[in-house]
Amino acid sequence: MKYENRMRLKFPSRSVNESFARSAVAAFIAQADPTLEELGDVKTAVSEAVTNCIVHAYPDGIGEISVTCRLFEDGTAEIRVSDTGRGIEDVERAMTPAFTTGGDDRSGMGFTIMESFTDLLKVRSKVGRGTTVIMRRRLGRRKP
């Protein structure tokens, strides 16, 4: 599939950047004429993926997070969120609802939300190397 437009963000894993990242992606995909619900879903999914890099990938310091977004001709947005942090030992287990290695400020529902708010979710991870989350969501399917 050919893409029409793309953007790339790189920023340090500071928690103030959660809001920056989801707002920047929302501003970029606005050109695909998404509904309010689609916009909210993508913002939420991006917030979950970026928060995971901040909280889990770099638990003891600051690392780089990269977010890329591509828009395809058919109105599909593909978002990749990558870190070069700790990595996930067992991805399937990590994606189980309510599974968390975080404290009681975490719910273990991040992957569940990414999954239910997108059309496709792929997670690639290598321990000690980092994690990439790829999400796709079709936009602008409003009724005439």
């Binding site: 928690s15 103030v16 959660e18 809001s19 989801r22 309010l36 619900e37 909210g40 879903d41 913002k43 939420t44 917030s47 979950e48 928060t51 901040i54 909280v55 609802p97 009681d104 400020d105 975490r106 719910s107 529902m109 991040g110 569940t112 939300i113 239910s116 708010f117």
Partner: protein, 107 residues
């Protein structure tokens, strides 16, 4: 994010507004914990009418408050939830534990 509190008799209400994410949740959780310990309410309400964004950090906040209210043999409600936070609560299945009501009118 902003958090304000109203207390009436044995009922404690938390009003959340702005964006509730991981960056905001720690302070909010600490303040809510302190307020609950100070007044040991029987009924607790989390009013979300002012929230413009919420992710799964909000679920953790509700769950934490729910566990504390259960220990106190009290009750918890989540009220006036706007549409984006409502989709997050829906996806989490938290309504099996805590009664949730949507924000009426608007949107």
């Amino acid at each position: 994010m902003k958090l304000s509190t109203a207390s009436a008799g044995t009922k404690l209400t938390f009003f959340l507004s702005g964006e509730l994410d991981q960056h905001a949740v720690r302070d909010a959780a600490r303040t809510m914990e302190m307020k609950i310990e100070a007044s040991l309410p029987r009924d607790c309400v989390i009013d979300m009418s002012g929230l413009t964004f919420m992710d799964s950090s909000g679920i953790a906040l509700v769950l934490k408050t729910y566990r504390r209210m259960m220990e106190l043999e009290g009750r918890l409600w989540v009220e006036n939830v706007p549409s984006q936070p409502m989709r997050v609560l829906d996806a989490s299945g938290i309504e099996r534990l805590v009664p949730v009501t949507e924000l009426a009118g608007k949107e």
